[in-house]
Each structure stands twice: as C-alpha cells, then as structure tokens.
C-alpha cells in the first residue's frame, strides 16, 4: 500500500513534473516558433527593404550644372591667359607633351591641348590634340596636331556645381566598368580581402579584428566587409548598437544573396563617404575625383587612386588638404598593401609613393562656387522640374554661365567696392551681365563676397531704380514722332505735380538747378529731373508704364507721377531685362540661364531656345540708344572714359535715389548688357551717386571682359537729316552749325532754315553741339 501509495505519489509528482516540463517544453516550442516566425518575417521585411532600395532608385544623384563650353575657332576673341584660365578650371594638367586627354603644354603663345571627349546636347565632341596659337587678344591659328586646319571646336563644359538635396549628399555616379581596375583591387585589398569569397559577413575577419582590438585595447581593426559597410551607409542610421550590428549582418547576407559582387562593389564605390565641403558631403569615388583632383576618375594615376582608397578609412582624419602628412602616410600604406598583394610592382609602388598628393588647391566643383548664378539656375529650373527630380535624377544642366566673365566680374566688383567702401562700411553691390542679343545670362554677382551664398542681391534686392527708368519715359515720347524728336525743346524748370491723392510733388534736379529750355536728348543725357517729369506728364503716365512693360517689366506698376523719376523698385536682374530689350534694338529676349538639359544617360531632354519678340519699335529705341551713347560720351556717364575708350561707343544710364541710398548703372556694348547696383542692405544712405558708385564698378567689370564696340545700325524707318540745331529746321549741309540728326522717316523737319547763324554762342546751341560731336 505504502509502496503503492509511494509509487502513486511518485507517479503524481512525475505526472506533475511531466506536466510541468511538457508545459515548459510547449512554451519553449511556441516561443521558439514565434521567434522563428518573427525572425523569418523580419527577414522578409528586411529583404524587401534591401531589394526595394537597391534595385529601385539606389542613389539620389544630384543634377550636375555646367557652364558654357569654350568655343575655339580661328580669329576668336580670346587671349592665352583666358585659355589658360579655362584649362585650369577644367582641371587640365600642364605636361611636356599632352599624350592623354585633359592635359596641355604651353610654349609662349602656342598651346598643345589634348581635349577630352564630351557629350553635348547636339552630340559628342571627340577628344583630340589641338595646336593653338595666339596673337594679341586673338586665337590666330587652330589646327590638329597633324597640322590640319580646324574650323570650330568646343572644349568640355566646365562643371560649376550641382543641385543636391536637403541632406546635402552629392555624388557623380559611376558604373562598375568605369571603376579603375587598380582602384577596385586596392579597395578590396585594403578594406575586405575576402570580398570575393564571403557571403556578406566574414566571421574570420570579425574574430581577427576582435582579437586584435582586445590585444591593443582599442579599435585598431574593423571586421566589417565591404558589404556590411555598404549596408551601414545605405540603410541604417548612425545609431550604434548590437541591434544595428545584427541588422547590418542580416542585411549584408540578404544583399549578397540577391546581388552579384560587382553590383555590390559598384554600389559601394558610389555610396562611400569620402570628404566634406562645407555642408556638402562628398559621396563616391566619381565625385571625390572631381573634388580632390578636378578631373574625372579615369584620368587618375596610381598615386591618386591609392589616395582615394586611403580616404575610405577616414576622410576627415586623412583629409589631404588639411593633413597632407597623414594622407601621404596612409596612401603609401595602401600602395604597400597593393605591392604585397602583387597588384603592382615594387617600382610602381615606389614611384607612386614619391609622387605629390596632387590635390587641387581650390575645392572641386562645389555647389557654392558661383552661388548667385546657381541660385538663378535653380529658380529657372523650378519652373519645369520638381525639386526631387533635380536632386536625384542625375540630370545634366547646361547653363549660359561664362565662368571667365563671372570671375572677372566678381574680382572687379569686389575690388572696386573695397575701394569705395574705405570709409563706408556696410557697402554692398550686385551685378548681372548678359548677352545683349541672346538674353543669355553670363554672370551674376550677388554681393561683395561672391563666394558666400548669402543674400543674393542680384535677384532679391528690390530697390528703387531712380533715373534708370528715364529711357522708358523718353522712349514713350519718341514713339510719338509727330510730337517729339531728339531736338524737341523741353522746359527744365520748377514745377509741381498733384498726384491722385492730392499730394503736391515738386521734383528737383540733382544739382538743384533749373536748366531752362533744353533739347530732349540733353535732358536725358544729363538726367534732368524737371524736364523729364514735364515730358512724362505730357506723354502720359500710362504710356510710360506701358513701355516699361514692353521692355520686359513683369511687376505691376503704380502709376504715380513719381514713377517718372524711378519710384519703382526692381532687382538688378529685372533692370537687366529692361536694358536687354533696349540693347537689342527693341527685341525682347527673356533672360535665360539654361540652354539645355540632358538625362543622366546623356540623352537630350529639354532645350530652352533663344526667342525674340519685337516689343518696342526699332526706330524709337534707336533714337533712345543714341542718347544713351551720349550719356557715356558727354553726359552723366562720361567717367566711364577712365575705364573704356570712347571708341567703344558704349551706351548707359546712371541712377541715383533719394539721399544717395542706391547707386545704379545700366548699359551695354555691342555684345553685352550689364547692370550694377551699389548700396546698403539696411537701406541707409550710401553716399554715392550713380556715377560715383555703380558706374565705377560697371566700368571696371566691362574693362576686363572685352566688350565689343557698339555700332548701331539705323532701322529702315530712320533717316538722317542735316538740321539747324537752334531752329530745329532742315539746314543745308554747308550751313554754319548744321548737324546730322536722326529722325523717324516722315517726321523730319520740312521747312528750311535760312542759312544764317545769328544766335551762335547761345547756351542752347552749345548744348546741342555736344550731342553730335
């Protein structure tokens, strides 16, 4: 019984134990199953992410922005210094003989240039060796190396920036096939020797690294494979935890299962972080090559390739610009590993190790090189493209930027403002330069520190334009040829004007004087305010506003009498648009910063064509432009002679606003239209009139960008008639004091003056003679 009860007891306990253990087992199995399921599910989720990210859009490739390519042709207006500047900008190296694309040699005024091939909107420009000779400011001869004459050829377009997204990652995408063999080999040799054998995780390497780290009591070795490094960069956050490590390993395994080694290597080569340029993060070897050496990856020699591999371990620590010694040491370590692995010979390693780092002084094609111009490009692109397309699709944007003009303009403006601001701190300035016939924007300077991407005054400083508005007033007048011509007498005397709200306005001249009766051209050339207001009121404010709009003004205009003296606030860019229409004889071309857009695959996507629209009559514009030339010859702009010879016949207009707050100059040569503003951001008086401030900046800029002379052709509807300037009547050529005056056909004087010049010596006569000297 006892036995029985004992056994029963035992059985009971056994059963209880059994019950307990089976419950535990079941619990474990269940938990195990559940966690298995969870892991499986999680793996599926990770697999999805890996695939989705990897196969889909792997990199957001910022749009690359290029300046205009330099056109080379015999007799081109180009100096050897200019060519040299362009070659440097493009990262060409000076060598004894240019065997390779992207190099050149120079002997005095003769250059041998081995150009790179480059795909433009209209096709590929093949690379070739060119023989160029200069004489004076001209490219006198252009031949191939074999002596064949070349009619026209383009250099590659200079990369001037990129449009990268908010997270500031920039890269130039490269394909696996474009990754130099030695570079790929070095990368594997240095970072992950068993790359081609492992499945994403290298257990041995981890163990080795751990052991080494424990022995050294610090991290001396990393056990991560290239795949793990890629995963880490690609998918994971900066968080450092076991969880992340596990994720990283799992994803590395999944990635390896899905993709070929070459695909992973390609991804790595594009993803790896290799440097920092202010806010811009340099990703991938493609961009790093441009960033450090200013040239494409395939042009790098062994030493440079090794340096890029060296940077993988720590781009900041080994920054070749800031820490050249460290960088050299690390590069040479890479070279030694390559030699030890039999990838290069001892001699190759030695030669490469003795080479200089070869990084360029200025940073590569940062987005911030020409921030003001890039700003304009971005705004114009946003009319047609979404931000995400610009920052991710790898578009190639070909702009109208002339880096040479841009640099000259920046230099001249900075220097002149510094000079003007000796006792005027806080003085600022902005400039816009465009092709007068094409409307192509060549340069934009947004402030006196042009490299600084701050307030872009050229596009955003909306300031009263003062007398810059006057050409529109005179244009409106001369468009009524039955009432006005260049000699029409205008009263420059005190007046008061009542505006609609009843205010009385009494405009004054800049010199506080009244000049009596003056011929129309004189009133504009000397920028007389009272005469201009009289003329404008007589022509009609609506007419003036209309002409402003026809010239290209987009803003709504407040039609107050003060409009006649420039009580309208515009940006330098808007002013440039108005003066472009004048400069091209009444043909308005919207100012463009972009020529073409290519896809990442270099297929044409979009063109921004040259368009013209005749918006104001050519004859009236011709007359106005005649006077704008007089402004420079003998009017308020005559100080330009300090900078540019009167032979250039430039046309322009000064502008000054109340209390000397804004100083403007706008004008044009045969080929370029330019606008300069000088003033203060806080809108306090700058103490400079148009001719004391902006004109000097304008003159200095133009002096350095070789404007062509302005030779205006009279339109068909213009006739030139000998006129007696005093009476305004038709005169005989031989009459004393008779001058040739352009008129719109049908509106020249009919009556003849008697050929007696008895009022010789009058002020009026003197003034007129100045115009037609």
């Amino acid at each position: 019984m006892a036995r029985r009860s004992n056994s029963r007891k035992r059985k009971k306990t056994q059963r209880r134990n059994k019950k307990k253990s089976s419950w535990l087992r079941r619990w474990i199995i269940r938990a195990g199953l559940l966690s298995c399921l969870a892991v499986a599910g999680y793996s599926v989720y990770l697999d999805y992410i890996v695939q989705h990210e990897f196969a889909g859009k792997r990199w957001a490739v910022p749009a690359r922005v290029y300046g205009r390519p330099l056109e080379l042709y015999p007799s081109a207006a180009l100096t050897s210094d200019q060519l040299l500047g362009e070659l440097k900008q493009l990262g060409y190296t000076s060598v004894r003989y240019p065997h390779h694309p992207g190099s050149y040699s120079r002997n005095g005024h003769r250059f041998l240039v081995h150009t790179r091939s480059f795909v433009f909107w209209d096709g590929k420009e093949p690379g070739q060796v060119l023989d160029l000779q200069f004489s004076g400011a001209q490219l006198s001869s252009l031949k191939t190396a074999s002596g064949k004459n070349v009619g026209l050829v383009r250099l590659d377009a200079p990369a001037v920036g990129s449009i990268y997204p908010a997270h500031n990652e920039d890269r130039v995408l490269i394909k696996r096939s474009e990754l130099p063999k030695k570079l790929a080999q070095a990368l594997v040799a240095v970072e992950d020797r068993s790359f081609y054998r492992h499945y994403g995780v290298d257990v041995k390497a981890i163990a080795r690294a751990m052991w080494a780290n424990i022995r050294a009591r610090s991290v001396v070795q990393g056990g991560s494979t290239l795949t793990q490094q890629l995963v880490k960069n690609f998918f994971l956050t900066r968080e450092r935890s076991l969880w992340r490590k596990a994720n990283e390993a799992l994803m590395a395994l999944l990635l390896e299962r899905r993709y070929e080694k070459d695909e992973i290597l390609e991804a790595y080569a594009n993803e790896i972080y290799l440097g920092q340029d202010g806010e811009r993060a340099i990703h991938g070897f493609g961009l790093a090559s441009h960033f450090y050496f200013k040239r494409p990856l395939h042009e790098l020699n062994l030493a440079k390739q090794a340096l890029l591999v060296a940077l993988v371990r720590g781009p900041s620590y080994y920054d070749p610009r800031r820490h050249p010694k460290r960088a050299t040491k690390r590069r040479n370590l890479v070279l030694n590993i390559m030699r030890d692995q039999g990838l290069i010979t001892n001699k190759e390693a030695k030669n490469a190790a003795s080479a200089s780092l070869g990084v360029t002084g200025a940073k590569g094609s940062a987005s911030s090189r020409f921030p003001a111009f890039m700003d304009l490009v971005r705004r114009q692109l946003h009319r047609d493209y979404r931000e995400e397309d610009l920052t991710s699709e790898g578009l190639r944007i070909f702009t109208t930027l002339d880096p040479w003009v841009q640099k000259q303009a920046e230099k001249a403006l900075t220097k002149q403002i510094k000079h003007l601001a000796v006792d005027n701190k806080g003085l600022e300035s902005a400039a816009v330069i465009a092709g007068s016939q094409s409307g192509e924007v060549l340069a934009v300077v947004g402030g006196r520190t042009p490299g600084f991407a701050g307030f872009n005054r050229a596009l955003d400083a909306v300031r009263p334009i003062g007398s810059l508005v006057k050409p529109a007033v005179y244009l409106a007048a001369l468009m009524q040829p039955e009432r006005f011509n260049l000699l029409s007498p205008i009263e420059d005397t005190a007046l008061s004007v009542q505006s609609r709200n009843g205010d009385i306005w009494r405009p004054k001249n800049y010199d506080k004087r009244a000049h009596g009766t003056v011929p129309l051209h004189q009133a504009l050339a000397h920028s007389y305010n009272m005469a201009t207001v009289r003329l404008g009121m007589s022509v009609g404010l609506d007419q003036v506003a209309n002409q402003l709009q026809n010239l290209g003004l987009k803003r709504p205009v407040n039609i107050y009498p003060s409009l006649l003296l420039g009580a309208i606030s515009l940006t330098p860019l808007e002013v440039a648009q108005i003066y472009q229409t004048l400069a091209s004889g009444g043909f308005h071309s919207p100012l463009r910063a972009i020529r073409e857009v290519l896809t990442a695959e270099q297929q044409p996507l979009q063109r921004y064509p040259l368009t013209v629209k005749q918006t104001v009559p050519a004859d009236a514009v011709y007359l106005v432009n005649q006077v704008l030339q007089e402004v420079v010859r003998s009017g308020t702009g005559r100080a330009l002679a300090q900078y540019i010879s009167p032979q250039a016949n430039l046309a322009g207009k000064t502008g000054t606003t109340d209390d000397l707050r804004d100083s403007w100059f706008a004008g044009f040569s045969g080929d370029k239209v330019a606008v300069v503003w000088v003033g203060r951001d806080d809108n306090k008086p700058a103490g400079l009139s148009g001719s004391k401030g902006a004109l000097r900046v304008w003159g200095r800029i133009m002096q350095h960008i070789q404007p062509t002379a302005l030779e205006m052709l009279p339109p068909e509807s213009i006739e030139t008639v000998w006129t007696d300037p005093v009476s305004g009547l038709r005169a005989d050529e031989h009459c004393d004091g008779a001058i040739q005056v352009p008129y719109i056909i049908g509106f020249s004087p009919n009556e003849w003056a008697s050929c007696v010049s008895n009022i010789n010596g009058s002020v009026f006569n003197d003034l007129i003679e100045v115009f037609f000297e």
């Binding site: 076991l242 040259l610 368009t611 013209v612 070789q706």
Partner: protein, 189 residues
C-alpha cells in the same frame, strides 16, 4: 535555465564588446566613414593650396593687376560681318539637319552660330527659316524682323526676310498682313 543564462551571458558580452567598440569608434577620429550627411565637419582653417600655381599663371595675374590702361575694343564691322569659317560650317550643318527634318537640331546649331556672331543678320534669317518650317509662325516673324534690323543694305536678305514674314503671316491666317509683307519684299528688290 542554465542554457538560457549562458545565452544571455553571451549576448551580454557581445553587446558589451559592441558597445565598447562603438564607444571607441565614436572617440577615434579614424572612423568617420559614412554618415557624413548628418555629420558636420568644421572647416575652420582655410585650405591651403597643395600645388604651387604655375609661374605662367602668376605672371598672368600680375599682368591683370597692372592692367589699369583704358580698354579699347577692336574695330568692329559696321556692315554685315564677313561670315567666319566657323560660322559657315555651322550654317552648313544646320542646312543638312533641316534637310533631314531635324529642326530642333538645326535650331540648336544656328543658336550656336549666333553666339559666335550675334549681329550676323544671315544667321537670324536662317533661324527664322527653321522656325517657319516648324510652324512656329510668330517666332519666325520676329526672328526675320530681327534679321532685318541687322541687315543694313543687304537688299536680298531684306527681301528674303519679308517673304518669310509673309509666309509666317499666312500661316496664322493673316492674309492682309502677308500682302503687306510681300509688298515690302517687292519694295526691297
């Protein structure tokens, strides 16, 4: 239970080493690879050029420094400029492109020519022809007018431009305007 404990211990040790490693990595300047997008690297020291600039360029810059002389532009042609070889090559290319119906290409080529000789009335006329072929009538008319504005005494060119304008006006159904333009063409003869 024991097994569980061992597993936990292993996990703990791994995580500890992981954390340790992380901590070291955080501190070590050698390990900033990746994650740059969120990291800011102060660029306080100005970057010194590594390569000495070539003596040529410094000479060039010096020249620019001392260049205070007033700039005198080269003499310009008042009449139509003689078409340079470069530009006539481009015109031929554009003509070929037009013949095979590549109007967009022809327009691009003509624009390239115009960048070289912006005041060459013949080039504006050619571009007008391309736009007319593309039935961009108003643009064709404006371009032909532009050509006329620069044509000076070239009567043949003027005539061609007026005929082009006439076609463009007919294209938009402006018959009376077209007749006027045709009259002007005759007048230019």
């Amino acid at each position: 239970m024991k097994r569980l404990f061992v597993t936990a211990l292993i996990l703990l040790s791994i995580s500890l080493t992981g954390c340790l490693e992380s901590a070291y990595r955080m501190g070590a300047p050698v390990t900033d690879r990746g994650h740059a997008s969120t990291q800011k690297f102060p660029e306080t020291t100005p970057v010194q050029p590594q390569e000495k600039s070539a003596p040529i360029s410094s000479q060039a810059e010096k020249n620019q420094e001392v260049q205070i002389a007033v700039y005198t532009p080269p003499p310009s042609f008042k009449a139509n400029p003689v078409m340079s070889e470069a530009v006539s090559d481009l015109v031929q290319t554009a003509v070929r492109q037009k013949e095979v119906g590549n109007m967009v290409g022809a327009a691009a080529t003509m624009e390239r020519a115009l960048r070289i000789e912006p005041r060459n009335a013949h080039l504006w006329n050619q571009l007008a022809g391309v736009r007319l072929a593309q039935r961009q009538y108003s643009q064709a008319e404006d371009l032909a007018s532009k050509s006329n504005a620069l044509a000076a005494a070239d009567r043949d060119l003027r005539r061609d431009n007026w005929l082009l304008i006439a076609k463009a006006r007919r294209g938009v159904g402006n018959v009376s305007g077209a007749r006027l333009a045709e009259n002007r063409a005759d007048f230019s003869r």
